[in-house]
């Protein structure tokens, strides 16, 4: 987790020597865009970057790449050294960004030419500070320490890149020795209480010895050398203008990056909008983007760019057909990318193309001569990724058709209803999530038959205009007013049942329902309604509705009591409407859908109850009693299906139970989160 490259510290030499020119001259005429042949006159019309500017811009470019590719994960710090060490930024996230570093660098400024040459001015101050900085924990390390991870498990390695200029090998050697000594001292400090910082497990010191163009250095290049178990050092001497190339080369190894050059990007010419030419853009990304796709029968084509010392993989641009960033590609890995040359016109054209939501497939040749799209570039959320695609044969290539599988020949699935629910249960990113917020099982309907042939209710929903509204009322939090409306609907149903109306089914192929089926249709409807209400019961109103439905079912000879005889009685009663007055007082609400008054409802209810074995008096008095007893029932009883034991604090238990069930299922005992 804590790799060597998670901490990098640039130590920039800010002594007087760095104010001298790099001797790579920029002509003023060139800046104006005139042809260079015209401006052979030297002298005042040209200028040069200082060594300081070269060191500064190349190290900032290094961290641009790091922060683009590993935002928040890999940290880079800057320390400027003259008479003392100046800390430019810390490990904290707020200072780990380009604008902070750029602003801080304005304050540092170019080293003054008028500074006296004195031994006070040295890069040593910076190197000492760098070691102290290595001992400081990053946010991640602090977090790990705080969470109780033993210190010896928190690996603390880092890299110091020192850009300086040394006279000869001897002074370089002393620099190395001092660094090693300070490193050991620091670890002693860290180990003895009061512990000052983390012990440093290993440090990789890269010394870039820079000289103006055309000057020979007395310092010899040296490859990685182990100075001590704690310290590896390498030394590179570079001409100031080439330091960026050197760092680009080094960064590949430091972060295990690879380079890809997208070739053949068609672009309109700046001067001539009618013609287009092909351009190349080089990007950097994790090396795994290449290695993950490799297979035995192909290898990615590589080349070495002019002036570069590393290989780049050349992949050909495929002009995207549609607006295809939505296409789901079989992807093995996605990695952030950043262009090597972020300001060039081809780079910014490619970037803008991607940031506008288009994706680009990249093509490579196979050994057999055919081509394969091995990678894809696409931008999401303002970041550009390279996706490594699966190009080898996969056993998933040919789909077994779902139509041939189980359930494949059923053609009346409630697909569009489920589709609607999906749209309503579309997820969004939240800043924080309330663990009590309803999860999907609580959002989706509790009663959802899969096909229209296994439901009467949802089948009829399309043909009975009042039914959807009724069903909607049933599944939501119900109040008194809703209950009254529902009771009305139930009554309507009852009336049409007693009239013997045929429900508007479409499944019967136009054939007329047989008489006994006409009766079945209402029985099934009642039963289904009952199930639906039972599954959704959350209020006393549901309970009431359930009661009236059960009475209705009983009346229709479909109750658990199975009193078929009742139906005959029922018919005779429906012929003589009663007019109960009590109900009118109770429900003085305006009713839109029903054509009949509430009184009928109540009346019918009573009549229906009548069909049992009880006497009329029994029925009336029980109805009266139930009216007067309409205080809130114990909520547990309402929510619980008949015959089951009510649960106390159901909401309180639910989540824990869910979590526990999930944990049990996964086989890991964990406490619910938060």
């Amino acid at each position: 987790m804590f790799e060597r490259n998670q901490k990098t510290i640039f130590v920039l030499d800010h002594t007087r020597y760095f104010s001298i020119a790099s001797e790579e001259y920029i002509s003023m005429d060139f800046l104006k865009g005139k042809p260079s042949a015209h401006s052979s006159a030297g002298g005042s019309s040209q200028f040069s970057k200082s060594l300081w500017t070269c060191a500064c811009e190349s190290s900032i470019e290094y961290c641009r790449v790091v922060w683009d590719l590993f935002p928040g994960k890999k940290h880079v710090r800057f320390i400027v050294s003259d008479t003392a060490a100046h800390i430019v930024n810390t490990w904290s996230a707020s200072t780990q960004n380009m604008s902070h570093v750029m602003n801080a660098m304005v304050m540092v400024g170019v080293p003054s030419r008028s500074m006296p040459q004195s031994s006070d001015y040295s890069v040593i101050h910076g190197l000492r500070a760098a070691i102290e900085a290595l001992a400081e924990p990053t946010d991640e390390q602090s977090q790990a320490m705080a969470s109780g991870v033993p210190d010896d498990l928190i690996l603390n390695e880092g890299r110091v890149i020192c850009i300086t200029s040394a006279r000869d090998n001897t002074s370089m050697k002393s620099l190395e020795d001092i660094f090693n000594t300070v490193l050991i001292q620091q670890n002693v400090l860290s180990a003895t209480p009061p512990k000052k910082g983390l012990g440093i497990n290993h440090c990789h010191l890269v010394i870039l010895n820079i000289v103006p163009l055309g000057i020979d250095s007395m310092v010899t290049n040296r490859n990685l050398l182990e100075i001590s178990p704690l310290l590896d050092v390498e030394i590179h001497t570079v001409g100031a203008p080439d330091i960026s190339y050197k760092l680009t080369h080094l960064i590949l190894d430091h972060y295990d990056l690879a380079s890809t050059t997208v070739t053949n990007i068609p672009m309109k010419e700046e001067q001539n909008a009618n013609s287009s030419a092909n351009y190349d853009v080089e990007i950097l990304h994790s090396r795994r983007a290449h290695s993950i796709t490799c297979g035995p029968d192909f290898s990615l084509p590589t080349s070495i760019k002019q002036g570069a010392t590393y290989e780049t993989v050349t992949l050909k641009w495929c002009t995207p057909r549609g607006c295809g960033s939505a296409d789901l590609q079989p992807c093995l890995g996605q990695f952030l990318v950043t262009p090597v040359d972020v300001t060039s016109r081809p780079s910014s054209c490619l970037i803008n193309f991607l940031l506008n939501g288009r994706s680009v497939l990249l093509e490579m040749p196979r050994k057999t001569g055919s081509k394969a799209t091995s990678h894809m570039l696409s931008a999401r959320g303002g970041e550009i990724f390279i996706h490594s695609l699966c190009i080898t044969r996969s056993c998933m290539d040919e789909a077994p058709s779902i139509a041939d599988g189980p359930g494949g020949r059923v053609n009346d699935y409630r697909t569009s209803e489920l589709g609607q629910l999906m749209k309503m249960s579309r997820m969004v990113p939240l800043k924080s999530r309330d663990p009590a917020a309803p999860n999907l099982p609580r959002r989706l309907p509790r009663y959802f038959p899969l096909t229209t042939t296994s439901t009467v209710l949802f089948h009829l929903q399309r043909h009975l205009s009042w039914l959807p509204h009724f069903l909607h009322l049933l599944v939501k939090e119900m109040d008194k007013q809703d209950e009254v409306r529902c009771q009305q609907h139930i009554h309507e149903l009852y009336k049409s049942a007693s009239r013997g109306d045929v429900l508007p089914f479409t499944h019967t192929n136009g054939a007329r329902l047989k008489p006994h089926k006409a009766k079945d249709q209402y029985r099934l409807l009642y039963r289904e309604l009952e199930q639906l209400i039972q599954l959704n019961a959350s209020t006393v109103h549901h309970k009431n509705l359930l009661e009236s439905l059960q009475t209705l079912r009983a009346a229709y000879g479909d109750a658990p009591s199975k009193s078929e005889a009742g139906t005959a009685n029922l018919r005779s009663f429906t012929e003589s409407p009663l007019s109960p007055e009590r109900l009118e007082a109770m429900s003085n609400v305006s009713i839109s859908s029903s054509t009949n008054s509430n009184s009928l409802l109540k009346a019918s209810k009573r009549r229906m109850s009548n069909c049992g074995t009880r006497s009329l008096l029994d029925i009336i008095s029980s109805a009266e009693r139930s009216q007067s007893n309409k205080r809130l029932d114990f909520s547990g009883r309402i929510c619980t299906p008949i015959g089951q034991i009510a649960k106390l604090y159901p909401d309180f238990g639910n989540k824990e139970k869910d979590a526990a069930a999930a944990a049990a299922a996964s086989g890991v005992g964990v406490a619910p989160k938060e």
Binding site: M1, F30, L31, G33, T53, C56, E57, E61, W67, D68, N97, M102, V106, G109, P111, A144, G295, L328, P330, C331, L336, V342, T343, S344, S347, S348, L355, G381, G382, E383, C390, T392, S394, C395, P400, G405, P406, G407, R409, Y413, S416, K423, S425, M427, V428, P429, P438, N439, L440, P441, L444, R446, P449, L450, D520, E528, Q531, A662, A665, G667
Partner: protein
């Protein structure tokens, strides 16, 4: 799981099986292969199979296909040649397998009488030369074979000492070369008396049934789909047992900070958490992909008797009253019956032939294809809405299901398992933090993608490592300069951008150079009769660039105000005279 079926075609395979004159080893192998194919067919013909026969050389008989009939035909035509050479076959398999990517679990099923071979090509010969040369590039192919799953169907009798010794040698080979493999053999009967009392007159343990048992065991260990319960909501029909094919492989989670490394399997129940548009998901990296297939309860009876059993079964499904969903199931069944044409009715009324067809349908047993299935409904809705269902496959481990359509327009429900962790798709953010619009605080809005901090390429970064980029920045200022006063604001904006970058990089030389360029431009424009405003601004800008007081992060060069402070105009005048000195 692409599989190579390898048949040992050495002459020894032609031996009759002792005590079973009707069988040779080869004919048993053939029967075994047919039975294996039967099993794969019953499981939906998902496996890609290739057939090779091997002797001194290995010969590809049928390349990878799902057309099992090709293999059935080719198996019959296998002819024995000479001696067995297992290692040649393994080496050949590497090149045959090479078209498959590392994402597929590759398997080998070898039917052999476990001959050891002769001379240098024998297994013992190989083990001798291989010892100590593990890293030799000559044996690099063995590293590839180590990724395969090797299944040996060992045809032989435990009473045969040659066979039992060979088994030991095969195991040694697997161990020495670090190959994953298993030897399937008939169970050892009476282990204590095995050697002494086994009589050749006794009908040997190796026969058709025994081979079939080996195949069943092979299918059970190496070809079993992962079985999980898929749950979408709370209604009981929205929960169903499904098979994931190819089976999921365990994920080896590396040790992190004191947390031990562990091998993780997905949960037995995968829950749908919510839905996402496919366009929001994009193409994230996935650990593995699987078909989500409905699990079908297969009767243990063989296919031949299955039809009989079905006929015997009553048309009406018997429901279990102890089932908590008994009421609902009974209701559904009653509703279905209600919709179905009543057979008695149609018989009575004696309607046309059309009805009798329906009658046959409804009275016969429902085939699996006619039974409703959650997977099909989910697939249909996801496909229609172009959406994916986010599923939780484990503790902080997710995947998503969607309708995948292949090149031939065949479609099925696919599950992509993401790498474990809740923050694996940067543009979706933390998957544990996904919720529904109702969960948003009032006035809060949320949508995909989750935006990251601006990267260098989406800011107007300044990098002057290449001179060309410095040139284009300077030219931009000069272009705006020519178009002043219209572009005055742009001019100063670009000017300040350059100035700030130059200050950050300690590139003060550029400030002076730019001041000079502006003065030259001013002189040039004055000659060409540019507007007064333009020259005044250029002079002003050049002066301001040179001021050391402006070398501060907070200062910004602002346009010269007309009739502004006299001090400013005088400095402009000084600057203009200075400009002509060059």
């Amino acid at each position: 799981m692409p599989t190579i079926i390898a048949v040992d075609a050495s002459l020894s395979m032609l031996r009759p099986v002792p005590g079973r004159n009707e069988h040779t080893y080869l004919s048993l192998a053939t029967k075994g292969i047919q039975h294996l194919l039967d099993n794969f067919t019953a499981a939906g013909k998902l496996e890609h199979l290739a057939l090779i026969s091997y002797t001194t050389t290995a010969e590809l008989k049928v390349d990878f296909t799902r057309d099992y009939d090709q293999i059935r035909q080719a198996v019959k035509k296998i002819e024995t040649v000479d001696k067995a050479c297992l290692l040649t076959m393994l080496k050949t398999s590497v090149s045959i397998m090479s078209t498959w990517g590392a994402q597929n679990l590759l398997q080998l099923v070898v039917f052999t009488d476990c001959g050891l071979g002769f001379g240098t090509t024998s297994i013992s010969g190989f083990l001798e030369t291989y010892a100590g040369k593990e890293a030799d590039p000559e044996y690099a192919w063995l590293r590839t074979v180590a990724n395969y799953n090797l299944n040996f169907i060992c045809l032989g009798l435990h009473s045969d000492q040659y066979f039992t010794r060979a088994l030991v040698m095969y195991q040694q080979l697997l161990d020495a070369a670090l190959l994953k493999g298993q030897l399937f053999m008939t169970p050892v009967k009476n282990p204590e008396t095995n050697e002494a009392t086994s009589t050749p007159s006794h009908k040997s343990e190796l026969g058709r049934t025994a081979v079939f048992e080996l195949i069943e065991r092979l299918c059970e260990t190496s070809y079993k789909s992962t079985e999980v319960t898929l749950k979408c909501g709370s209604y009981f029909r929205m929960e169903a047992p499904v098979l994931l094919w190819p089976p999921t492989t365990p994920y080896e989670q590396p040790a992190v900070l004191g947390v031990e490394a562990e091998v993780r399997q997905i949960d037995q129940r995968i829950d749908v958490c919510g839905f996402l548009a496919l366009s929001d998901i994009g193409s994230p990296a996935t650990l593995s992909r699987h078909w989500v297939l409905p699990k079908v309860e297969r009767e243990k009876t063989s296919r031949r008797s299955a039809g009989m059993a079905a006929v015997a079964k009553p048309a009406k499904l018997t429901l279990d009253t102890s089932n908590p969903n008994y009421e609902l199931e009974r209701l559904e069944q009653d509703i279905r019956e209600f919709y179905a044409k009543d057979p008695k009715d149609t018989e009575e009324s004696g309607d046309d032939a059309d009805v009798t067809i329906v009658l046959k349908h409804s009275s016969g047993p429902q085939t699996e294809q006619q039974k409703e299935c959650l997977c099909v409904l989910l697939h249909g809705a996801l496909k229609m809405e172009n959406m994916a269902a986010l599923v939780r496959v484990g503790e902080k481990w997710y995947g998503f299901m969607y309708a995948f359509t292949d090149a031939k327009k065949k479609s099925n429900l696919m599950l992509n398992i993401l790498p474990p962790g809740s923050n694996v798709i940067p543009w979706l953010g933390d998957l544990e933090l996904l919720g529904f619009t109702e969960d948003l605080a009032p006035g809060e809005t949320a949508s995909f993608p989750v935006r990251a901090d601006r990267r260098s390429y989406s800011q107007s970064s300044v990098v002057w490592i290449r001179q060309a980029s410095l040139q284009s920045d300077v030219q931009k200022v000069l272009r705006h300069a020519k178009k002043m006063p219209d572009k005055t604001q742009h001019f100063y904006k670009e000017l300040n951008r350059i100035r700030r970058a130059a200050l950050a990089l300690g590139f003060v030389e550029l400030l002076e150079a730019l001041a000079m360029l502006l003065e030259k431009e001013c002189a040039h424009l004055t000659l060409n009769g540019a507007s007064n405003e333009c020259t005044v601004q250029l002079q002003h800008a050049a002066t301001e660039l040179r001021k050391t007081s402006n070398r501060d992060i907070k200062s910004t060069i602002v346009p010269h105000q007309k009739g502004g402070v006299p001090d400013a105009s005088s400095s402009a005048a000084v600057a203009s005279t200075a400009g002509y000195m060059y």
